[in-house]
């Protein structure tokens, strides 16, 4: 594998974090779900990793441990109660657990009297796109996305497939916690409607949004690795519509994911090794829900997922002026791209729901995050790997540039990612302490939108307590690798001391 270039992501795993730790659950009898016990006493003397997280835009957790059929059924019933009426679309990825969770979700929604359109295996972006045309009041997408096997999540989508606004989602959580579900009487229980074909209208619209003719004429050879996920059964239609010669790998729905589904260089090795033998114009690696994307260049470089957003932003903003939205820990390359095109930049908290909500508020043209996700509101209401692939191919075709050249024309920074172990509440305390001290910032400007961010002329540093693991994440980016490394190391020492 060749050096992926200066915009290189280094992850330090000096602190070994168990992905799965002791969980204290309280199982309540009869019709209730697995609920977390209070953190205080349970956490004492033990490091607790959460196996479940309920948030306004959904629920995520470890299958069988936090995510039980009953919990998921209750969550779906809360959503059905909130929406009041259907039809509600339900789609899933290919994981073994997704089938089980889908049955639970459907039962929960039917019990509130909402009809369900069963979309079966369906990438999240196609589900989002289909809500409007099918007249749905909302949708639930069941997918572990970029999380490893054993994890899964429900994502709640509202009218037109948009993410539930965080504030609105609080209502769903209130219904869930109060168990205040609407119970439809026996003769008003919802019905399951079969889904019409979703691929054709979606790819028709995608082809219209893109310069499909230019892409077809370029006759690209493309490697796609949908990690045995929801993309498997749709990539054929994608390739056909854009006249691609497709070399798919890990494209069988086995229920098992061939590798860690987070699109990033270390998970792109299969694609890269194939491209070492069979020349291709580009390789794409997606998450199991087709929400995130990373690329392998025509030179076989496994590019950081941080590239995906700036490559596309650089292409889109050149053709369509307007605002850009990103989170507070995405590479400064994005800032430079926005500046190059005179696009106003809005920063949000970390998480696609926040980015998409701001994109709506600011009427932005493009939004994305450094984890390999991009949304274009003019086309779809969420992060969409088919759209991302299409736009990158369009950039290659219309500008006559190879994938490597698209990466090379971007400003370069060095990103260093580290993590420090510490229980979540201690993590917040440590960040509070640092927020009130000045000397460690060395003159950098502090912002506290989500965790702590310090900006210098030549780079930035971001410290944030993880929402899913007992760690504080450190991201440091600078023009010089050494500077980025030093800042990350200093921050991790500081945090180790405080934790």
């Amino acid at each position: 594998m060749r050096d992926p270039g200066p915009l290189n992501t280094v992850t330090s795993n000096s602190n070994k974090i168990s992905r799965r730790l002791d969980i204290a659950f309280r199982r309540r009898h009869s019709g209730s779900d697995f609920a977390m016990s209070d953190w205080g006493p349970a956490a004492r003397g033990k490091r607790i990793m959460r196996s479940l997280r309920l948030a306004s835009f959904g629920v995520q957790g470890i299958v069988g441990d936090g995510l039980s059929p009953e919990l998921v059924m209750n969550f779906a019933a809360a959503f059905g109660t909130f929406l009041e009426r259907g039809p509600i679309l339900v789609g899933r990825d290919t994981r073994h657990s997704s089938r089980m969770l889908q049955s639970a979700v459907v039962a929960g929604l039917l019990s509130t009297g909402c009809d369900v359109i069963d979309c079966g295996v369906c990438p999240t972006p196609i589900l989002q796109f289909s809500v409007g045309p099918l007249g749905g009041t909302g949708a639930i997408s069941i997918s572990g996305g970029h999380s490893p096997m054993g994890h899964n999540a429900l994502t709640l989508l509202g009218a037109q497939g948009a993410f539930i606004e965080p504030v609105v989602g609080e209502t769903v959580l209130d219904i869930y916690h109060a168990r205040d579900f609407r119970k439809a009487p026996w003769n008003a229980i919802g019905a399951v409607q079969p889904s019409p074909a979703l691929a054709e209208p979606y790819f028709d619209a995608l082809a219209r949004h893109l310069d499909a003719g230019a892409i077809q004429r370029a006759a690209f050879t493309v490697v796609i690795d949908p990690v045995n996920g929801a993309g498997c059964r749709y990539i054929g239609a994608f390739g056909e519509r854009l006249g691609l010669r497709l070399l798919p790998i890990n494209d069988v729905e086995t229920g098992h994911l061939a590798h860690d589904p987070e699109p990033r260089p270390r998970n792109a090795r299969q694609a890269a090794s194939l491209m070492g033998h069979i020349p291709a114009h580009i390789g794409f690696i997606s998450s199991s829900d087709m929400g995130r994307l990373s690329i392998v260049s025509d030179r076989g470089e496994t590019a950081s997922e941080e590239y995906t957003f700036p490559i596309i932003a650089n292409h889109v903003l050149a053709r369509r002026p307007g605002g850009l939205v990103t989170n507070c820990c995405t590479t400064r390359t994005v800032d430079d791209v926005a500046a190059r095109h005179g696009a106003p930049l809005t920063r949000t908290r970390v998480g696609q729901a926040y980015v998409l909500s701001a994109l709506s508020d600011e009427n932005g043209v493009i939004g994305g995050e450094g984890n390999g996700s991009v949304a274009i509101p003019a086309f779809n209401r969420g992060f969409d790997a088919f759209l991302m692939m299409g736009l990158i191919l369009e950039a290659m075709a219309t500008r006559g540039l190879g994938a490597a050249a698209l990466i090379e024309e971007l400003p370069r920074y060095h990103i260093v990612k580290r993590q420090v172990a510490g229980e979540t509440h201690r993590g917040y305390q440590a960040l509070d302490t640092l927020a009130n001290q000045d000397d460690w910032r060395e003159g950098g400007a502090l912002t506290t939108l989500d965790g702590l961010r310090v900006d210098w002329d030549d780079g930035w540093l971001h410290l944030r307590a993880s929402q899913t693991a007992p760690i504080v994440r450190i991201i440091s980016e600078a023009r010089e690798a050494e500077v980025a490394e030093t800042r990350a190391l200093n921050a991790s020492r500081l945090l180790e001391h405080l934790l």
Partner: protein, 451 residues
């Protein structure tokens, strides 16, 4: 006490959207998966509106425990029992409230032999549910559901092997069926047409609701009666929603009473198929005993509840029997109540005797049954049953289920209901006055005992 949830020997039962929720169904399914262990579990349902919802919930609950749901879809309960045995599954779950009205639904649990859980097994299973500690399997071990193709085949083949199909086909009978908008709406016409019958149907649309009261009692069968008369049928069959019970209407459109379904089945099996003991439950009409004893066969009595009858049949090596409510059991087909076996035997009887139903009916001694119920507290019921035992000391008594007193040509039975807070009083005698007198005698004894 009206809209309660009933958890007991006949499963988990309640009103959909009130006491019985998909959350509860998933939890019971998970517990069942933990109880039977990882492997295949057969799943089917009747036509109730809440069926698809509970089906999804049960699928998720089973998968959570690592069981593979084998989906039979909308099929009769006896079919599910047979499939469970045939497929060597770990167990099965029937989603049906049987003869209860449409708002109700229930889960009924089937063991690996294709029988409903015995009281001992049911107790063990409910303990697992109450402990609440269901084994969740790891992600990679969650099995996908499997759709069973042609799920009726095992059942219908078993019935065909038992009866003389050629004789039935040759008779070319015209029959009417009231499917009660239940599973029969899908399966009864093909079954009967395959036996060479000309078939007319009512209650043959699946709407999620039932056009008539689902219990096949005589006064619920007026539509079927009219159909039999108008279409000139040789016989009318009335099924319940899940296809285990059967009532018969004669060629003049008169319901002949559910007890006669079992009596005819006993007659036909003993005359044409096998010699051996007969088992019926305690409250079954004496006419069944008359038919059996006329053929030199002994009748054993079992406690109320299908699994109790099944177990007694297997213990006694019975060749035929069932319940007086129209539940015919032929163990050689499968030891469970089955309206399809009952229909086939009845058609065979008509084909072989070439006599109308009314004539066959008149050949069977007529008894009159009087059923009453007394509201009662459980603690008082125990005292009453004790008093009745003393009152009938020396008489021929059966204490399997309450107090059953057997006289040469009549009987009286007092038992505590499994489903309601009442004492059920049933008496049967050659005439109505005789039956009434027995009930009055018991009521007088209850009054005298001061409870």
């Amino acid at each position: 006490m009206k809209d309660y949830l009933k958890v007991g020997i006949s499963g988990v039962r309640g009103i959909a959207g009130e006491t019985f929720t998909p959350q509860l169904a998933a939890a019971f399914a998970s517990a069942f998966g933990s109880y039977v262990g990882r492997g295949a579990v057969v799943l089917g349902r009747d036509t109730r509106a809440s069926g698809p919802m509970f089906e999804q919930a049960v699928i998720a609950g089973l998968q959570h425990s690592g069981c593979q749901p084998m989906l039979a879809g909308v099929v009769p309960t006896p079919t599910l029992l047979m499939l469970t045995r045939q497929l060597d599954a770990r167990g099965g779950i029937a989603i049906t409230a049987s003869h209860n009205p449409a708002p109700w639904n229930a889960l009924k649990f089937i063991d690996d032999e294709g029988l409903f859980l015995s009281p001992a097994k049911a107790m063990e299973y409910f303990d697992i549910y109450h402990q609440g500690d269901f084994k969740a399997v790891a992600e990679a071990d969650i099995p996908g559901a499997k759709l069973l193709r042609d799920p009726m085949r095992v059942h219908f083949d078993a019935v065909h092997r038992y009866v003389d199909v050629a004789a039935i086909r040759a008779a070319r009978l015209k029959v009417a069926v009231d499917c009660c908008n239940g599973v029969g709406a899908l399966h009864s016409r093909p079954f009967l047409e395959n036996l060479g019958c000309e078939v007319v149907t009512c209650g043959d649309r699946i709407t999620g609701d039932f056009d008539r009261e689902p219990e096949p009692l005589p006064h619920h069968l007026t539509t079927l009666s009219a159909l039999v008369r108008e279409a000139g049928c040789a016989i009318g069959f009335a099924q319940d929603p899940d296809g285990d019970r059967l009532a018969i209407v004669d060629e003049q459109g008169r319901p002949i009473g559910e007890d006669l379904t079992v009596a005819f089945a006993v007659q036909q099996v003993l005359d044409r198929h096998a010699q051996g003991p007969v088992v019926v439950h305690l409250s079954t009409s004496r006419c069944v005993r008359a038919v059996a004893e006329a053929r030199g066969v002994k009748v054993h009595l079992a406690r109320i509840g299908e699994i109790n009858v099944t177990k007694a049949m297997l213990a006694h090596g019975a060749v035929v029997g069932g319940e007086g409510n129209g539940g015919v059991i032929v163990p050689a087909v499968h030891p469970c109540r089955d309206s399809y076996t009952a229909m086939a035997l009845m058609l065979e009887l008509l084909a072989m005797t070439q006599r109308p139903v009314s004539v066959l009916r008149d050949a069977i001694p007529r008894y009159h049954l009087v059923k009453e119920k007394m509201p009662i507290r459980n603690e008082a019921a125990v005292g009453i049953l004790r008093a009745l035992r003393r009152r009938y000391e020396g008489a021929n008594m059966n204490l399997l289920d309450g107090v059953y007193v057997d006289f040469p040509d009549r009987w009286v039975h007092a038992r505590i209901s499994n489903t309601e807070p009442v004492l059920r009083l049933t008496a049967e005698a050659p005439d109505e006055a005789g039956a009434r007198a027995l009930i009055d005698e018991v009521r007088a004894e209850i009054a005298r005992s001061g409870t």
